[in-house]
């Protein structure tokens, strides 16, 4: 039997060797942090602090507005220096709370729960919500929302995404290697919240050491199984991972819960464990700082709100020929126009590419209808037609080619021999029409 996988996909050079040997080390504490009040999909938070106010580490500084939202906490102890607009990784300006670090690292009182697994699912869910946990794979969807499926959508499986299918990134890999028990503990909390007895951890075959360690960690847990997946981007996309691990197909335009599954990222699972066990809010995360443009690639534990420029500096800085800096992975990450943007809960990596590795997107050819994109599209779409219709401004035609089923993984654009900016055209079409 072949390894678990889905239909389509590509295998770009994974380049994980740059940072995979580097253990997670805490980044230097920043002198000040700039914490965005909107780090998640959903309503931005309202500032809960005033300028000049003293805050402790872990204190709530932004309260959520609405259900699909997550609170934001101070990642350092210090004085609120300002509430300003700052560029986010996507280039939009977002409201941020700036805190001058007083260096004391003094925590706000946290509630320790040695017996956390005996808490009720509701209590655990509340802890996840209060800790401001969001999906840490990049999308940053508030986790408690995923953990509150409507009654008519029974969940029977939780899958942890250890695929880390984006090239370069090693943050989840390091967590699995260094803190396998915390990962498993997080998964167990998830299973308890959802009342589920089946848990899976999907890991790509290029991380066999992680597979071994995780398999050891779940030994004796009859309810949890490690699934070795084929190295194939985008294996870590929810729908693909579900297909690979439990062979279920999420209905088109549907959510994982429509087939009884909840997916969570490895980093998120660790954050969930910490929230349940120690009451610790999500104020720091592992960031892989890597790429041929970084002098010393590392996996750093970074406080949310730390400027990208600072953590880049802690990795030896950028090489002279660096031309592009990406927040996230090379397939779905965002190109930064400035390094003066804060690390958020969803920042999985900072990737610096030298001029020689940057593919200039301005020059592209016509679609030669080779069909490569159709072959690799994990969603079974026809990206060629999406790009052709969008290029001409035929938005309705693009919709007829299932425009809104595209989740912009970039696989089509990666393989296109004419170097067409398919994802960009898809985004353009999506912005010009409604589902």
């Amino acid at each position: 039997m072949g390894l678990a996988t889905f239909k389509g996909g590509v295998h770009p050079p994974d380049k994980k060797e740059l940072s995979k040997q580097s253990p997670i080390t805490p980044a230097e504490a920043p002198k000040r942090v700039c914490i965005p009040l909107s780090q998640h999909i959903g309503a931005p938070c309202k500032a809960a602090v005033a300028i000049g106010q003293d805050v402790k580490k872990g204190e709530v500084i932004g309260t959520p507005e609405g259900f699909v939202s997550a609170p934001v906490h101070a990642s350092v102890a210090g004085k609120v220096a300002g509430i300003v607009e700052c560029p986010s990784a996507t280039g939009r300006m977002v409201q941020c709370v700036v805190i001058e670090n007083n260096g004391t690292e003094e925590w706000t009182p946290l509630k320790d729960n040695p017996d956390y697994l005996s808490l009720s699912p509701e209590d655990l869910r509340a802890k996840v919500k209060d800790a401001g946990i969001v999906g840490m794979g990049g999308a940053a969807f508030p986790t408690h929302v995923k953990l509150s499926p409507p009654k008519e959508k029974p969940i029977d499986v939780v899958i942890l995404n250890g695929a880390e299918c984006e090239p370069y990134l090693t943050a989840d890999y390091r967590l699995m290697i260094e803190r396998p028990d915390d990962v498993v503990a997080g998964l167990k909390v998830l299973m308890r919240i959802l009342g589920v007895t089946k848990g899976y951890i999907g890991i790509e075959e290029n991380k066999m050491d992680a597979v071994e360690i995780m398999t050891k960690a779940v030994a004796g847990e009859g309810t949890i199984q490690v699934v070795t997946c084929k190295v194939m981007y985008p294996q870590g996309a929810e729908k693909m991972l579900i297909k690979a691990c439990v062979d279920r197909e999420v209905p088109a335009r549907g959510l994982p819960m429509d087939c009884g599954v909840v997916c969570q990222n490895i980093g998120t699972a660790v954050a969930i464990y910490e929230a349940a066990r120690f009451g610790k809010p999500l104020i720091e995360r592992v960031v892989t700082v890597t790429g041929a443009g970084i002098r010393e690639p590392k996996n750093l534990m970074v406080k949310v709100g730390t400027m990208v420029s600072e953590i880049v500096a802690q990795c030896g800085g950028l090489k002279e020929d660096t031309a592009k800096v990406i927040s996230g992975g090379p397939m779905m990450g965002f190109a930064l126009y400035t390094l003066e943007t804060p690390v958020t809960k969803g920042t999985s990596g900072i990737l610096a590419l030298p001029e020689s590795e940057v593919k200039h997107a301005d020059k592209f050819g016509p679609c030669i209808r080779c069909g490569r994109c159709i072959e690799v599209c994990p969603m079974g779409l026809m990206p060629s037609m999406l790009s052709i219709t969008a290029e001409k401004g035929f938005w309705e035609d693009a919709k007829a080619y299932n425009l809104f089923d595209c989740f912009e993984c970039g696989t089509c654009t990666y393989v296109c021999p004419s170097k067409r900016p398919i994802v960009q055209l898809v985004r353009l079409a999506k912005s010009q029409t409604k589902p």
Partner: protein, 341 residues
């Protein structure tokens, strides 16, 4: 808020994701397909002499020149380096009889490049295979010149070869018995057809040489098996059923597969990305259509060979096939099932 600047303030490049791309490019594909035609080109030179090289080179040069001239004249970006005009020229050259005068390649190339490709919008927008339209135009405009076949005896020597008929031509006019008379027995007929030691268009006579190139394309993933297999398979089945004299199921599929332009057409012409369907299921239908039309023309039509018209007719259906055979959206089946409940 004052900002902390990086030591090396610089302009960073911004673009939409993904930020990495595969090494594959359109021009690499075009040059690879051209390279895959090298064995067939060498066999053409071997059997038909220096004139073959001259004709093929002239076709390529005129195709590239036509593209360059058109793009310059219309103030378009000149894209002759992408190799697609070179490939069209090479394919057209390999589809010419070895006896044609020098102006035939030039006319054919201009028709292929300007009329068939550029007037429809250039690479990616043409409805028909340019090389085949070029050849069809020549066949209709110069029916005499385009059907004078030479014996494959030149073998690097410049000499005027005797004219003769192609195996399929003999089949059409005088029947299988005559063909056997010419080649002796079945085995030597197959051998000649496989090696290419027969009359025919420059690059089509050696089935083995074409097959080697085709397999190279399959292995490198430049083409998929769907069109060649369905094309050759359906042609073979139809040849077996209807190719015999009188009784059904007495035809000779091997002879049909090895002769004429079937191999060249199935691996190099019908698989043209632009003019064939993009979805695999559609490609199967397209291939079967090509096989059916080829055998219809060969067995019942006025021409001895039908590959060219078969592919061109199927080219017409490509947009319709593409529209009817869309790829299957992930999760769509489940949605349909639920709707049916």
């Amino acid at each position: 808020m004052e900002t902390v600047r990086t030591p090396k303030e610089q302009q960073l490049i911004i673009s939409a994701s993904p930020h990495i791309r595969s090494e594959e490019t359109t021009s690499r594909i075009m040059w690879s397909v051209s390279a895959a035609l090298l064995p067939a080109t060498i066999m053409a030179a071997y059997f038909f002499g220096p004139k073959a090289i001259f004709l093929i080179a002239l076709t390529i040069v005129s195709a590239v020149a036509a593209e360059y001239a058109y793009q310059r004249a219309m103030n378009k970006e000149v894209t002759v380096c992408d190799g697609s005009a070179f490939l069209t020229g090479l394919l057209l050259g390999l589809n010419l009889p070895p006896t044609v005068p020098f102006y035939i390649p030039i006319v054919g190339s201009v028709v292929a490049i300007v009329l068939t490709k550029q007037l429809f919008g250039g690479l990616g927008f043409n409805v028909f295979n340019p090389a085949l339209i070029g050849r069809a135009f020549l066949l209709i405009s110069f029916p005499k010149l385009m059907t004078i076949w030479a014996e494959p005896t030149a073998q690097f020597v410049a000499m005027d070869a005797k004219t003769t008929a192609t195996p399929l031509g003999i089949m059409k006019t005088e029947g299988l018995a005559k063909l056997m008379e010419v080649f002796g027995d079945k085995v030597s007929l197959y051998k000649s057809l496989a090696v290419g030691n027969v009359a025919g268009s420059l690059g089509e006579t050696s089935a083995i040489a074409v097959l080697v190139g085709g397999i190279f394309l399959l292995i490198r993933g430049y083409i998929s098996w769907h069109i060649p297999v369905s094309f050759l398979g359906s042609a073979a089945v139809l040849a077996w059923i209807f190719g015999g004299k009188g009784a059904l199921f007495t035809g000779d599929p091997i002879m049909h597969l090895l002769s004429g332009g079937l191999m060249l057409g199935a691996f190099f012409m019908a698989t043209d990305y632009v003019t064939s369907p993009s979805v695999k299921k559609g490609q199967l239908l397209f291939g079967v259509g090509c096989g059916f039309l080829t055998m219809l023309i060969r067995l019942k039509g006025g021409y001895p060979e039908g590959v060219m018209f078969a592919i061109l007719i199927m080219n017409c259906f490509t947009p319709l096939i593409d529209r009817s055979f869309k790829s299957e959206v992930f999760g769509a089946v489940k949605v349909k099932k639920e709707a049916a409940k």
